[in-house]
């Protein structure tokens, strides 16, 4: 292996490689996958001069530690956290030079859940169906990082213009998700639809890259019966038999058999990726554009 590589010293709770995912294959049962907080991932890439679609690392809650074999520029965005290079504090949300062999640590999220680590040249694992993303539902793409793993890096593109800093939204204290009702809102009682769009839910600790699960009110069906499997979109709010809404995120299944009461606007999903368990959630009905 060349020295364009990154050694994983501490993989963290769950760190995966993510880019824009692999849309266009849903008819084969292939989830879209990709970075959950896409604006954060793209900003990290811009900060190090990468193309926005370059693959980055997505950490979960407690960061990770890596050692590049050659000198690289990195940037950490998304969930704010403490960053060190060989023990010295470094800036979050800004380009940071990491000398060859130095240890970059990405600390536990101070707020939010997922930090994004872009490295100049991008993470260059072998793409699968055009994407380097780890898909935790179907197992496509690279496996999640493990201690001791080595990830290849791409060649930096020195001509790209770089930004040095950029504002980032704070992780949400309350998650407000705008939804359009349907396609299966008629499978629920009018009272359940009212509860859905007016009551407070909380983010469940069972949430993952497949879906943001909720705790709180349960939604009652208007009738029993089984829905034949149908195609699912990003942001679909599916209600399984326990009545607790689940918001589908990037690794969601391409088809499903539980009714979808509403669909969250795509622009409201990046904050959902940063909402820690216990965060209050409200679904606000908006009219279709």
């Amino acid at each position: 292996m060349t020295d364009r590589a990154l050694s994983v010293v501490r993989a963290g709770a769950l760190t995966t490689v993510q880019d824009r995912g692999r849309p266009g294959h849903a008819h084969l049962g292939v989830p879209r996958s990709g970075a959950l907080d896409r604006p954060a991932a793209e900003l990290a890439n811009r900060l190090v001069g990468n193309r926005p679609e370059a693959a980055v690392l997505e950490t979960t809650l407690n960061g990770c530690a890596v050692r590049p074999r050659s000198t690289v520029t990195v940037a950490v965005t998304g969930a704010p956290c403490r960053i060190t290079v060989d023990g010295r504090a470094a800036a979050w949300g800004a380009p940071v030079r990491v000398p060859a062999g130095a240890l970059l640590t990405v600390g536990t999220a101070v707020s939010g859940l997922r930090s994004y680590v872009a490295v100049s040249g991008g993470i260059a694992v072998e793409p699968v169906l055009g994407s380097r993303s780890t898909d935790l539902l179907s197992g496509l793409g690279p496996v999640p990082l493990t201690d001791g793993a080595v990830l290849p890096l791409g060649t930096p593109t020195p001509l790209r213009t770089r930004v040095d800093t950029a504002p980032q939204p704070a992780p949400p204290a309350e998650l407000v998700l705008r939804v359009t009702l349907g396609p299966r809102a008629d499978w629920f009682t009018p009272e359940a639809v009212r509860v859905f769009t007016s009551r407070a839910f909380q983010v469940s600790s069972a949430s993952n890259r497949i879906g943001l699960r909720t705790e709180g009110p349960t939604l009652e069906r208007a009738f029993e019966g089984e829905l034949p499997s149908e195609g699912m979109v990003l942001g679909a709010v599916q209600v399984p038999p326990d009545g607790r809404p689940v918001v589908f995120l990037a690794d969601h299944p391409t088809t499903g058999g539980y009714p979808v009461i509403g669909v969250v606007r795509e622009t409201d999903l990046p904050p959902a990726a940063q909402a820690v368990p216990g965060t209050p959630v409200r679904f606000v009905e908006v009219r279709r554009r």
Partner: protein
Amino acid sequence: MRALPVGNGALLVEVSSDEEAQALHAELVRRRTEGSLSVREIVPAARTVLLDGLADPVRLAAQLTASEVPPAPPRPREVVELPVRYDGPDLADVAAHWGVSPEEVARVHAGTEFTVAFCGFAPGFGYLTGLPAHYDVPRRATPRTAVPPGSVALAGPYTGVYPRSSPGGWQLIGTTDAVLWDHARVPAALLSPGTRVRFVGAP
């Protein structure tokens, strides 16, 4: 035909049968290929076709609901043949459901021409239709925690082949060595919606 809006950029088009869903899917793929339909995903399922990534779903919904379900398209000439050993652990249970011998299950299954109605559950997993309705079988009361890859299985009106080991509640009637999914191959999926399939009994 009913077109339900899904969020701001998708439509779920609902029809009344597997056959209509397959015909509609073929027609929508044809329109995309000829360039008259711009859409990111066309996802067929049991009674629906989902169109995701549409610029103007409202206009397309109006167009679609004003039209009839298209006639079934000409079937593709190619038939994918899957060699199968009818040695599944649920073969006897399926035979009991059908009221025939295990040998007869194998004979009927291998004598049927299937079509991939849709995919889902896992990359490369196709829901194959073709068996007459009186051969429908229920799922197992208790799903298995690990179904071996290559398992040929029945549930409801469908036949499927597990591309990789996964939990599953379908009735296992046989095994194939065919590689259903290989992401290094082009195309990665051996079966995609509309593919004709025949199971060929092997000793």
